[in-house]
Subunit: 220 residues, 4 copies
DNA sequence: TATGAATGAGGGTTCATTCAT
DNA sequence: TATGAATGAACCCTCATTCAT
């Protein structure tokens, strides 16, 4: 199930597919993909436009034709993440029950454990860095995590939980928190273990009354 | 109890207490305090030595008398955090039971909610930024979060939990995760709510026999 | 014969030919020429990139577009000397006999006496300074003197001297030694006199059978 | 014979003889000795007062009590070399004939071959570096090489050579030149070979009439 | 005399951004 | 559109020199 998902979130992008001429139209995409990857691995502040340009195989001077400033490119990266999470939620929507969808999210987390243990969560580390600013960029990045929380809240609500918001926040906090710990301690097993714990936790929430009766679910 | 604690972790240090000349002995401390504050508010990469020097009211050139490089100063900041957490654990040790100590940690978290919702967790955001590097600094910073987890594990162990490690990781992950969310969404209430949830969760763990998988509490 | 030579080795390059804009292509050359001149006159360590940039009429920041580091620029200067000595040896090759070539070298030395008596031999003083380092630059610069010796050895060999290597070393040592003395004592006549002595010495070697220890000439 | 000599010229000085309190009087000497050594190994420009102070085990601030400026310390180093050459000439004076004295000088050169092949001639490299300046320091350093030449001239004159000056310049040029080559190519054998050649050259000068009959000599 | 602690003027280097073509 | 080449502000760091004690 998470097959397709597992390749969504991680920063993708052409490594160096030289040889055939690419239309100018996709240069922008290549830049965003390269920026996403490089920024994920190095952080916004450390990453250089020259570095991104090189990774995208685009002349430095040309970058400014597509992005007025470095911040504009970072903003495009954020937008790119937004799209990725759109794809993700579409994938998750294939699950028939809210519990299944939530558990699929956790399994998606677990599937990325090695990557997360190296550079952390792309969204989390980006948000963490941008939290130090007072830009539009900060609030821009914030919408992604907010969207994730909202999505989880919808699921918990569908389970009949009146504390859906609280649970959603708790779930995403655990998600981001374990990604941080795994990256900091460079230990992917932390994610597996915590993933298992979260799966059980979600199950436990489903079995207990909370107000409205939860819908029956098909997936375990 | 957390009265004193609440002033430990947050970056301390005189903002600009000009007027009376301070002897050189404490200059180093002033620099570390200023660095801690400024780095907390702006991030490592964005923070300039000139900025730190100004915040500490020390001539830029003089900084290098105390710290050979910027990294050395950052390292001193990390060490400063290590000491702060030493103080914190001493405070927490005043609680008679492990449950009390764990809950005191959560209360300490809650007491800092406004600060956390502004710049995030000092340790978490610092670690997140340093996770992008491969320095000694990265592993240096990692020891602090590792220490926190170890501390929590000891408490859970003292509660008779055989899954103490897993619980400790989960607790600190929740701690760091909620700090990140609060900062990103700029919403301190997230911390209060999650703090409450964690307190109940800790209580629930205390009532369950060890060996069984810990069950998260269901509702508030 | 040495007319053209005399303008090869000495640092060349426009001093400040302002007025007509030069295209970027030759900027690199201008920088190398300026660096060569300034370094020759001031030494590597004393010379500032800002100084070189000013001498080349290039904005300081722009220097780094052409040379990644100061050392890279110094390396380019060394390469520039290598080329100059290539030109020199081509000129010397016009002499029909090895004796003629060796004597032409000495005459080249003599023709530069005023310059040498002011700042010393460009290669010698550069090598002397770099000898204090353990860089790649040190060995880089060394290849030039090594090349000179090799060239002289070839000539002596062509004269039938079995002690060609020893003679070559002696000749270049005398060459560099007299340049140092002339510069230190600021006396160009030292070079003229020693030049004459070396010419006679070369002639005397030509008359003696190889295998016998070379005998220096006795008087002028 | 050159036993004592061989330890005169090379930069000497206490390495780190801590443990017993030294009188303040010799601090100056320690500084000069340390400066001599460090400058010999690193060059004037590269050498830091802090480095010298550390090598001499003298607090940095204290250096300025003995030497008003860095240049003053360099000047003292030059003076120190002057004294060393005084000692050297005294040693050489023990030879009964001028030829013996000249050959003893060459043997002194040869005895230092390993050191010379590493850092070059202390006087030569110092002069070479100072030749780039227009200081008093430049002419100050020049007096040492001038003194050496003068000394050699006296010897050649005593041999009855009317071209004594020219020969003296040639000898010292060969001396400095071979030291430069050996250091640049990092090959001590160059010095041995050239030393042998110079010895034979001196002998050959002694056997040939030049005007005045040379004095008989005792040593070979 | 002695010394730890300033001080401040650079020096090498980076980099977002702009310019000219 | 595209791009090589500028540009200049800023950053980290060094170091001779001075100061206060």
């Amino acid at each position: 199930m998470t097959n397709s998902l597992s390749s969504e979130l991680p920063p993708a992008g052409p490594e160096h597919s030289r040889g055939n001429v690419r239309r100018g139209a996709d240069k922008r995409e290549r830049l965003v993909a390269a920026a996403r990857r490089v920024i994920y691995e190095q952080g916004v502040e450390t990453t250089t436009l020259a570095h991104i340009a090189a990774a995208a195989d685009v002349p430095l001077g040309n970058v400014y034709y597509y992005f007025k400033t470095k911040d504009a490119l970072v903003s495009a990266v954020i937008e790119s993440y937004r799209q990725s999470y759109g794809v993700l939620s579409a994938e998750l929507a294939q699950q028939e029950s809210p519990v299944g969808r939530l558990k699929a999210l956790v399994q998606f987390l677990t599937s990325r454990r090695d990557q997360l243990a190296t550079y952390g969560c792309p969204i989390g580390s980006l948000s963490s860095e941008l939290d130090k600013r007072e830009d539009a960029l900060r609030s821009d990045a914030a919408t992604i995590l907010a969207g994730l929380i909202d999505w989880a809240e919808v699921q918990f609500r569908a389970m009949g939980r009146e504390d859906a918001r609280e649970l959603a926040v708790a779930l995403i906090a655990a998600y981001e928190g374990i990604a941080l710990l795994a990256a900091t301690l460079q230990d992917p097993t932390l994610i597996s273990t915590e993933g298992g714990r979260l799966l059980r936790w979600i199950d436990s929430l489903n079995q207990l009354p909370s107000g409205n009766p939860p819908r029956a679910e098909t997936t375990g």
